[in-house]
């Protein structure tokens, strides 16, 4: 498959000091939905804005659809749609006026009516932008990106702050675009979004890709697809995890700040009875026990020792 987006050794330094992006490489295929997953401040927005041609990189190469920003800026703008992390569109224009305005910038835009319909904004087409709900505003922001009939769609945190229903609506819209052959690059710090929407992901931290692959591959790299979390009385607050590491089926152990111990396991039905036996043997009591499927959050914690969203 031809590459839709490619960047090599991308670097961005602000004011000669702050290194927001440090040598980033990405290869995104045509028709893919690719996610940049990482905590706030990881460099996701800087990266996507460089790819969008809104920010010059300090060094490195960017190629979009085989073209570069230096030589084909106008052509690239015609074939991509973007939604910034936060854009407050003019409050006193109506939804339709806003879409018509954005459509007017493109040589061959889609019909505003079709886009309104696709984004379920037809009912709101004569409402002022200032009167829209958060979900409607975000759909409008994506509508302004889709009206130009782009080949590549850039979405910077498209669902941040949205309720679950609005979030799902947006996912449907992104899937619809992808189904028509479009390529999507989105940033998110919601692991659920990354897992369910993206074909492939790059996990970004401190301006670098620390892991990349399909969500399933990334989770598989943990060694276990399941997580057993427990807390036990008398469990010393030392960092030693050796006693748990040797339980059957345990691939890795990780200790949370609040005293929980996380075991990444292959076969929970072997691990859990052995764990209970060991706790009884140690004369301590089980205070908490749960098992669940491993998620990208676990991958991130495993790689960085931190959570994606630390409030």
């Amino acid at each position: 498959m031809p590459l839709a987006i490619q960047c090599r050794d991308l670097r961005k330094t602000y004011d000669g000091k702050v290194e927001a992006v440090r040598g980033l490489n990405l290869e995104i295929e045509s028709g893919e939905c690719f996610g940049l997953l990482g905590p706030n401040g990881a460099g996701k927005t800087t990266t996507i804005e460089i790819l969008e041609g809104l920010l010059p990189p300090s060094s490195g190469q960017v190629t979009i659809l085989g073209k570069t920003w230096e030589s084909d800026a106008r052509e690239l703008r015609e074939s991509m749609g973007i939604s910034l992390q936060e854009t407050r569109l003019a409050e006193k224009l109506t939804v339709r006026e806003t879409i018509d305005l954005f459509a007017s910038f493109y040589r061959e835009p889609r019909l505003s009516d079709d886009v309104l319909d696709e984004l379920q904004l037809t009912e709101k087409s004569n409402a002022w932008v200032g009167k829209l709900s958060g979900g409607q505003r975000q759909r409008l922001a994506v509508a302004t990106a889709l009206v130009g009939n782009p080949k590549v769609l850039f979405l910077d945190e498209p669902t941040t702050g949205l309720d679950p229903q609005s979030r799902r609506q947006l996912w449907d819209i992104v899937r619809g675009f992808q189904k028509r052959g479009g390529t999507v690059l989105l940033t998110t710090h919601y692991m659920e979004e990354a897992e369910r929407l993206c074909d492939r992901l790059a996990i970004i931290d401190h301006g670098e890709v620390i892991a990349a692959g399909t969500p399933a591959e990334l989770i598989a790299r943990l060694g276990g697809h399941h997580v057993v979390e427990f807390a036990a009385s008398g469990e010393q607050n030392d960092d030693s995890t050796d006693q748990w590491k040797h339980l059957p089926g345990v691939e890795s152990v990780h200790r949370e700040n609040d005293g929980l111990v996380c075991l990444h396991v292959r076969e929970p039905h072997l691990t859990v009875p052995a764990l209970l036996d060991l706790i009884v043997k140690q004369n301590s009591q089980l205070l908490h026990l749960s098992t669940r499927q491993a998620s990208l959050e676990d991958v991130f914690v495993r790689l960085t020792g931190r959570h994606l969203r630390e409030d």
């Binding site: 936060e86 305005l101 007017s104 910038f105 696709e118 009939n149 619809g176 052959g181 993206c198």
Partner: protein
């Protein structure tokens, strides 16, 4: 590659080739930007007030304050004493009595009133035939008053004029203060509206990241900026017609030049100040920064450019600098076309001044403009 689960309730999306597409011409972006700008302004009640209502109120207030009074009566005080009554009688039987309002007052009260501007002159009769005037040579009305009172007393005492003179009263429209004022107000309003209108709009859009969003589309940047300037020209037409029409209906102004010439002069002004507004807001991230800068730029012009009074009052050395200011050029050209019916060709120097300001600041703004 992970297969994402099938979308639960998505409508049948058309394939890439089935999408209906429009074909936009070269100016579609520009016309939509201009239409959007005008729509936004129309929906902003404060803008309507500042652009249209406020200048009319200002013109009305100033027009009333400086309306032509029937005659300039000078208030004078006669210091109380034995000869005060006879002095008053002399003034009242003189031919100039209608122009002088004399009052007898205690000496201290008279001098205090003089200092406070209540009286233009104090008359101190030393005897029935000797008078002493207290006047201030720096106050024109005091100088005038001394002359009138002196004439009144001399002729009351029997002075005969060697010459016979006659006068014709003239207060024709065209030479009154309101005639001077209205073109100045139009000029000032064109400046204020263009600077604030463009400056605020730009900083606001920059803060909202709307500028950044726009440059993420194939929109031509020059289309955006010219649409913004064009919206000011359209508004300027309305402002000029309103203010000038107001002068014609309320103050019976006579518009000597053609309205087309006047609107063209206004267009040059609107372009000059759009350029300057663009430049002053080309980098600011906050409204405060931009408004401080714009006040700094406009302040000298409010004072020097002859809005409320003629710049002839400033020393002649300053005149070349004052005339190089865009508002001076606009005000002078407006007064020449409105009041004297001057042709556009005769105003080419002033139009050039405005064009140079507009073009230079527009080009400079394009270079330093911050879109993000």
């Amino acid at each position: 590659m992970a297969v994402s689960e099938p979308p639960p309730k998505l409508k049948d999306s058309p394939g890439p080739k089935q999408l209906a597409l429009l074909h936009n011409g070269r100016w579609s972006g520009f016309t939509h930007l201009l239409a959007a700008r005008m729509t936004e302004l129309w929906r902003e009640p404060e803008v309507m007030f500042w652009v249209f209502v406020f200048p009319l109120l200002l013109a009305l207030g100033l027009g009333i304050a400086f309306r032509d009074k029937p005659a300039d009566v000078t208030p004078v005080a006669i210091v109380a004493g034995s000869d005060a009554e006879s002095t008053l009688a002399m003034i009242e039987r003189s031919p100039e009595h209608a122009l002088i309002h004399a009052q007898i007052a205690e000496r201290n009260a008279a001098l205090k009133g003089f200092r406070l501007g209540k009286y233009d002159l104090v008359i101190e009769p030393d005897s029935a035939s000797e008078f002493h005037y207290v006047y201030d040579p720096a106050r024109p009305e005091s100088v005038l008053s001394r002359r009138e009172v002196d004439d009144a007393l001399q002729s009351a005492a029997g002075r005969k004029n060697p010459l016979t003179t006659a006068t014709t009263v003239s207060s024709e429209p065209g030479s009154r203060y309101i005639d001077f004022l209205i073109p100045g107000l139009i000029g000032m309003n064109v400046m204020n509206a263009a600077m604030w209108g463009i400056g605020f709009a730009l900083v606001d859009m920059r803060q909202r990241k709307l500028l950044k969003r726009f440059v993420g589309t194939p929109m031509r940047r020059s289309d955006f900026l010219t649409a913004l300037a064009s919206s000011r020209i359209l508004l300027m037409f309305v402002e000029v017609v309103l203010l000038l029409g107001f002068g014609v209906f309320f103050f019976h102004m006579r518009v000597m030049g053609s309205w087309l010439a006047i609107l063209l002069v206004g267009t040059f002004g609107a372009l000059a100040f759009s350029g300057i507004g663009l430049l002053s807001a080309s980098r600011a991230q906050k409204i405060e920064t931009a408004s401080g800068l714009m006040n700094l730029i406009m302040m000298p012009m409010w004072i020097f450019s002859g809005v409320f009074f003629s710049y002839e009052r400033f020393p002649a050395v300053l005149h070349p600098f004052i005339k190089a200011l865009p508002l001076t050029a606009l005000n002078d050209a407006l007064r020449a076309t409105v009041l004297e019916g001057a042709s556009l060709a005769s105003q080419s120097g002033r139009l050039l001044v405005m064009a140079v300001w507009g073009v230079l600041s527009f080009l400079l703004a394009l270079r330093v403009f911050r879109w993000t």
